[in-house]
């Protein structure tokens, strides 16, 4: 049946991809929610347009299917349209079905990376460390023209974008933690914190220990989102099975907490991968029910207010606010942490243009979005902004440096960890 899901779990129940796309009645109420429509004014780059095009693709009514590529590949998969839609038409999943229909062979880089992540993790880590070392020595900048020359401008851009170059990965640190008898939670390390931002993962673990007591590191692999978005569904399924097995083996009855919203949203959607495998669907459902994103953990946690915080605002990572409905939770936590330093951010739930590999595939559109985002942050007066997704951290770090260098970006977990540590020093126990 090829590399297609064929059936989706929608807000209205399980539907064929055709029925899911046809549920769009073209009312257009999603238009102003769609970041690419808002910045281009082009219906082709709107949620409604994309749903209609996928529907035409499924109906076989486009004589030149390749002409739909731009429309489908410029989708951020942010899900803002679904949140604005009365029928909650699942545009992101529908667009992905459309992309898979269009592309016979997945992107070679995505494929390579997926294979490395799934089967040769040790080799991948070695390569990354070498690259990070080279980056620290300023060598990779020299490689950029070569990357562009061999047709990998995205990789060159990615190299330029990413400012972090850790030489010790998160999983290596967490594996050294002593065993715990009755774990209250398990930590899922997404690739972002693992390979780029170990400090985020360490913060999340510290927060969990402070709020919930002892827990375990799942020592998970990749969640499979990369393969789901850019590669092969079967690879995504294989990775999902491995994660589920890890969860089942971990012995934790508490929540599975991850600190990249794109990954946690995807973990929660695992059942959709197994609609034709009833046994795995049940296991995926059990697992998905245990998954929590950081904003959920912090929503009503007893967080002390951070002292001496500069003017602060919060950017909603798309897959937290649109994908998981966590806007209220995230803002509640951010407000409590920042106290009087908190500033409202207009359009806080509009995508920053990070969106996984989007910034590297659609640099111009991505730049329009981050420029708009940086402008809103600057207008709020904030000097510090937090988010909950890895793509946002990368994109905001590089965009703010370019357009509003007075402001820094951190993960919500880092702020919470700082506040809890400060509370402990002040003698205010967590929970007080």
């Amino acid at each position: 049946m090829g590399n297609l899901l064929h059936r989706l779990i929608t807000d209205l129940g399980e539907r064929s991809d055709y029925d899911a796309a046809s549920q769009c009645c073209r009312c257009g109420y999603c238009e102003q929610a769609c970041p690419t429509y808002v910045v281009t004014g082009d219906e082709t780059r709107s949620a409604r347009g994309r749903n209609q095009l996928v529907r035409l693709l499924i109906e076989g009514r486009l004589s030149d299917p390749a002409s739909a590529e731009d429309a489908l590949h410029t989708c951020l998969l942010c899900g803002a349209c679904t949140a604005a839609c009365y029928a909650r038409v699942a545009t992101a999943d529908i667009v992905l079905e459309g992309r898979r229909k269009l592309t016979e062979t997945p992107h070679r880089l995505a494929r390579l990376l997926t294979r490395l992540l799934a089967e040769h993790r040790g080799l991948l880590m070695l390569l990354l460390k070498a690259a990070n070392l080279a980056k620290r020595l300023g060598l990779t900048a020299l490689a950029r023209p070569a990357l562009r020359l061999i047709g990998l401008p995205g990789l060159a851009l990615a190299e330029e974008h990413v400012r972090e170059a850790p030489l010790v990965f998160l999983e290596e640190v967490l594996r050294r933690r002593p065993a715990v008898k009755d774990p209250r939670w398990s930590y899922f390390a997404p690739c972002g914190p693992n390979f780029l931002y170990p400090r985020v993962g360490l913060a999340t673990v510290a927060v969990l220990e402070s709020l919930r007591g002892p827990g375990v590191f799942m020592d998970n692999g990749c969640c499979g989102l990369l393969a789901y978005n850019y590669g092969e569904l079967d690879d995504a399924r294989a990775m999902a099975r491995r994660v589920i097995e890890r969860f089942e083996a971990s012995g934790s009855r508490g929540p599975v907490v991850g600190d990249c919203s794109s990954c946690t949203a995807f973990l929660k959607s695992y059942p959709q991968l197994f609609l034709s495998e009833p046994d795995w669907k049940v296991r995926a459902e059990r697992f998905a029910a245990a998954v929590r994103d950081v904003p959920e953990v912090l929503a009503d946690a007893p967080l002390p207010e951070l002292a001496g915080l500069p003017a602060f605002t919060y950017h909603d990572s798309c897959r937290a606010c649109h994908g998981q409905g966590l806007q209220t939770a995230a803002h509640a936590a951010a407000r409590r942490l920042a106290g009087s330093a908190y500033r409202e951010l207009p359009e806080s739930d509009m995508c920053c243009g990070g969106a996984g590999a989007y910034a590297f595939r659609n640099p111009a559109l991505s730049d329009d979005l981050i420029q708009r985002k940086a402008g809103r942050i600057a207008a709020s007066g904030a000097r510090l902004v937090a988010a909950s997704g890895t793509s946002c951290l990368i994109q905001l770090a590089q965009g703010l440096k370019k357009y509003y260098p007075e402001c820094e970006v951190v993960h919500l977990s880092e702020l919470a960890a700082r506040a809890l540590a400060q509370g402990a020093k002040d003698g205010t126990p967590a929970g007080a």
């Binding site: 009645c25 102003q32 004014g41 209609q52 095009l53 590529e69």
Partner: protein
């Protein structure tokens, strides 16, 4: 379009402005209605000059073009049904200025209604028109459709809030029209013309200060009749709510199944919202609550705080949403009847629905008789589609039969084109075609919209019998016909209260003797009056029974007041007009409903026309339950016809027989 056409058009525009890929054309082949049509190119201009270039190019090569904003149109008006160029105005999206002292905002057409509201809210102001699509629909689209919304009961529809327009006319010229222009007022004609007469590139809009207080009342009634009687009682009591929405039981059940809003399960639910000072809003809310109980409401709730009011609105706002979840598509039909005919309209709609096996959810803007049956269906099922469409058309026909119109706020587009024959006589349709032909001789501006094709009267003519002419009016029409046959010029003197004496050689047309009140609909708050009636005596008669015209003191006859546009505000309460045209035929324009977007706004065009377009026989006016003091109006001014007023004249009176000296 030939390949050469596309290449030439592309060369005349900046890079990235013209889309021609198959998928791109497909993404511009629909709007919010059901019919599709693929354009041959999509233009995304950024400024009026680029719009002008596209229009001039299309006019020159007789290529159709369709202007479009957000593409949320519910009548198919923004679909390229005859190919050509789809002209998207989404990138003309700047708010150019907000003048809170002059209460005016200047915007480009692609500005989203909500964005304007957000900008105005910063200074405590707002723009009154609030179509349900306001979060995404554009001001340009709102103007093209003369959009309404819940708030228009108190504040009027889009046309009442447009002060001036800059438009690219079908010949490619950029022209500014204002409500203050002397003579036939082309600006009002452009509003609601669905892009068939010009493309708006800039709009001067009236803005209002936000009210200090708002109160919302929700009430459940045992029957639709009881609810509508209560609506009439509220208005008779001198309360003009800013919104007066109704839902029937089926709608409430649909909403409650989706999102528990806690609405009463009664036959009808009314949502009534008052604004003003805290005192007036509280007083009016109390009056409304009392009246609701008096008219049998079992459950009455009231709210003042924003969050509480929002909760009361939740069911109303969720109604369309709930329908959109029942099936892939929703036909939102849009009929309008005189308010007191609503219960009958509901009976007819239910009977039609039962016959076609459909279950519509009924939503009303009850205050102005606008009814929206929402019918969920799957467009992929041809049989179901046919049933739904047939039922929708029958519902419209029923509204027309009940004295109403085909559309209150969604426009005609392609979906109601054929139904126009039920509402308008063939003479009125010809007048509309003549206006279109005179403005757009190449027929390039959004062809195939609003007007049914010539001939093809198989669908039958008007379903409402024409009102008989009074003996005097019939005589006058005969005289005009005779003069027209001879090619003899005529002087429309009316009662002579304003017009100068007829020049020699002209036949005099007098309206003396045409001085009756033809229809005083006290339930619907409208009055139809012959042209020869003295305005002062009419006002006295109306006031004696608690009905008011919100005009300053104006002397002379009604016909004279209207023909000379003795006060610019007349347009707001003019609902309909009967006119003897230059050929002696009679045209019935508009009607007894306060919202009507079925066809060109030709009645308003006659204001200030000084007898050059036709002889006013009678006019239908909106009445108010309370009077307001207004400063005296200045002296009406004669006019010197501009080029577009000349085109109007050509459509009405090609041979220049009526008051010919204006166009000498």
């Amino acid at each position: 379009m030939t390949k050469q056409d596309i290449a030439d058009l592309r060369a005349s525009l900046p890079p990235g402005t013209l889309l021609t890929g198959e998928a791109q054309l497909a993404a511009y082949s629909y709007d919010g209605a059901s019919r599709r049509g693929r354009p041959e190119a999509v233009a995304l201009p950024r400024g009026a000059d680029e719009v002008r270039r596209v229009v001039a190019f299309c006019a020159d090569r007789r290529i159709p073009y369709v202007a479009r904003g957000a593409g949320t149109n519910l009548s198919g008006g923004s679909v390229a049904s005859r190919g050509g160029v789809l002209l998207s105005l989404a990138r003309l999206d700047r708010i150019l200025s907000v003048d809170t002292a002059a209460l005016c905002a200047v915007v480009e057409p692609g500005v989203v209604n909500l964005k304007l509201q957000e900008e105005l809210a910063r200074t405590g102001h707002y723009y009154a028109p609030d179509p349900s699509s306001f979060r995404v629909s554009t001001i340009g689209g709102n103007i093209a459709e003369n959009a309404g919304g819940p708030r228009c009961l108190k504040y009027g529809v889009t046309t009442d809030h447009v002060l001036a327009l800059e438009a690219v006319m079908p010949d490619g010229e950029l022209v500014r029209f204002s409500v203050e222009d002397a003579g036939p007022e082309v600006m009002s004609l452009l509003v609601g013309s669905e892009g068939t007469l010009g493309v708006v590139t800039k709009a001067w809009l009236r803005i209002l200060p936000q009210p200090a207080a708002v109160r919302t009342v929700l009430a459940g009634f045992p029957s639709v009749e009881a609810a509508v009687s209560c609506v009439s009682a509220i208005i008779a009591a001198g309360v003009v709510p800013r919104a007066l929405e109704a839902l029937d039981r089926a709608t409430v059940a649909t909403v409650e199944a989706y999102r528990k809003a806690g609405y009463p399960g009664t036959e009808a639910v009314l949502l009534i919202e008052m604004d003003g000072t805290p005192e007036s809003a509280a007083r009016e809310a109390a009056a409304v609550e009392r009246l609701a109980r008096e008219y049998g409401a079992s459950e009455v709730r009231s709210a003042e705080a924003v969050a509480d009011r929002e909760r009361l609105w939740e069911g109303r706002r969720g109604a369309y949403a709930a329908c959109a979840r029942l099936a892939p598509n929703v036909l939102v039909e849009d009929g309008v009847v005189p308010r007191d005919r609503l219960p009958e309209a509901v009976r007819r709609i239910r009977e039609i629905s039962a016959r076609h096996g459909i279950q519509p959810a009924l939503l009303f803007h009850a205050g102005d008789g606008n009814i929206h049956p929402n019918i969920s269906y799957d467009e992929r099922d041809p049989a179901q589609c046919a049933r739904v469409k047939a039922a929708g058309q029958e519902m419209l026909r029923a509204c027309v039969e009940l004295g109403g119109s085909l559309s209150g706020e969604h426009g005609v587009g392609t979906e109601k084109r054929e139904a126009m024959r039920w509402l308008h006589s063939s003479r009125v349709l010809r007048l509309f075609r003549d206006i279109k032909g005179s403005f757009d001789p190449e027929g390039s501006a959004n062809p195939g919209k609003i007007l049914p094709d010539e001939g093809g009267e198989a669908g039958g003519g008007p379903v409402r019998p024409a009102r008989p002419l009074s003996a005097q009016a019939a005589l006058l029409a005969g005289k005009v016909k005779a003069c027209a046959a001879e090619g003899r010029p005529m002087a429309v003197v009316g009662s002579g209260s304003r017009s100068p004496a007829a020049p020699p050689g002209c036949a005099e047309l007098l309206t003396t003797g045409m001085n009756s009140v033809l229809d005083w609909d006290k339930g619907n708050y409208t009055v139809t009056v012959e042209a020869g009636v003295s305005v002062r005596s009419l006002r006295a008669e109306l006031a004696s029974q608690g009905f008011h015209l919100r005009w300053p003191d104006l002397g002379g006859t009604l016909g004279g007041v209207l023909a000379s546009k003795a006060w610019p505000g007349l347009r707001e309460d003019l609902l309909g007009m009967r006119l003897i045209l230059a050929d002696g035929e009679v045209a019935d324009l508009g009607g007894k409903v306060v919202k009507n977007v079925a066809g060109y706004d030709a009645a308003r065009l006659v204001l200030g026309s000084w007898g050059t377009l036709g002889v006013i026989v009678d006019a239908t006016l909106r009445l108010h339950s309370s009077a307001v003091e207004l400063p005296a109006a200045g002296e009406p001014k004669a006019f010197c016809a501009g080029p577009w007023q000349r085109r109007v004249k050509q459509a009405f009176d090609l041979k220049n027989l009526l008051n010919p000296w204006f166009h000498a």
